[in-house]
């Protein structure tokens, strides 16, 4: 016969597990994505030349932030790529991704507009536009879109 105390413990465990499972946040806030780039330039961020790391490439806007925060320009989602750059996507701007490299204290997952995404000393921002073949082309960003990352809106 089943010990009454173990029945109690098991039922309480099941109740807690169910409660936790139903309240838990989505399980993939730190999901890594790898947007495939349209351009295949010879020198790319992440490369090493004579032992020196390439931290920015053609199409990256380099910003001297001196430890300042960077903010979500729209409500959206922060993911990261294999180089630990933050990839920001938002339903407010269909067909675009923003790649932010150089951030510390990355804040991944769903982000409200104006929420911090991280801090940086030197930040490299690339604007990626979706192409018909599913690749992402680095394009020239506007000043207003870059400014939105620098101000808490």
């Amino acid at each position: 016969m089943l010990d009454i105390h173990s029945v109690f413990a098991v039922s309480r465990g099941v109740a807690i597990a169910l409660t936790l499972a139903s309240c838990a946040p989505p399980p993939q806030p730190d999901e890594t994505i790898r947007p495939q780039l349209y351009q295949q330039w010879q020198v790319q961020p992440g490369d090493t030349l004579n032992g020196v790391s390439v931290i920015g490439g053609l199409g990256d806007i380099g910003l001297s932030l001196n430890g300042q925060s960077v903010y979500a320009p729209f409500p959206g989602r922060a993911q990261k790529d294999p180089r630990n750059c933050l990839i920001f996507s938002t339903p407010d701007v269909p067909a675009y991704l923003f790649r932010l490299c150089g951030l510390s204290n990355l804040r991944l997952g769903p982000r409200h507009q104006g929420e911090a995404l991280g801090t940086a000393t030197i930040l490299h921002v690339a604007t990626l536009r979706k192409q018909p073949n599913g690749t992402w082309a680095i394009v020239e960003p506007s000043k207003p879109i870059i400014k939105r990352f620098l101000t808490r809106s």
Partner: protein, 134 residues
């Protein structure tokens, strides 16, 4: 602590029943939390309509599936042929330097709290997204 007490006071069968019932209620309450709030990966869009075009506009499954077959960077006209007038126009954006992005919103007929947002840059269709509204 409670189990220790239970052992010492000769915990009876009806007490167990209450405990089981309590646990079930807690679990049920957990399940009652709105699942969409937990599932949605993205906070609702903050942008509001700048101009309502067609207050009754909704997007059918059929038109949605047609839209999804049109590749990005197609001519705007291709989209126009598939879609009717949008519910509204969202504020213009400048994402790329020198190019104004225009956005139109269509509530889904089968889920009006979700909007399909279509974006154009000049005469080009840039792409779409799904935006969850409160």
């Amino acid at each position: 602590m409670m189990e220790y007490q239970a052992r010492n006071t000769g915990f009876n069968a009806s007490g167990i029943k209450y405990m089981l019932a309590g646990g079930t209620v807690v679990a049920a309450l957990g399940l009652l939390v709105e699942p969409q709030a937990l599932m949605s990966k993205i906070a609702p869009a903050k942008d509001v309509c700048q101009e309502v075009i067609q207050p009754q506009a909704v997007l059918s499954r059929d038109r949605l599936s047609q839209l999804l077959t049109i590749p990005e960077r197609s001519n705007k006209e291709q989209i126009r042929q598939v879609m009717q007038a949008p519910y509204c126009r969202l504020p213009d954006l400048e994402v790329r330097a020198g190019s104004t992005a225009k956005r139109e919103a269509y509530p889904l007929a089968f889920d009006p709290n979700t909007w399909l947002v279509v974006m154009y840059e000049g005469e080009e269709y840039a792409g779409y997204s799904f935006s969850f509204r409160r």
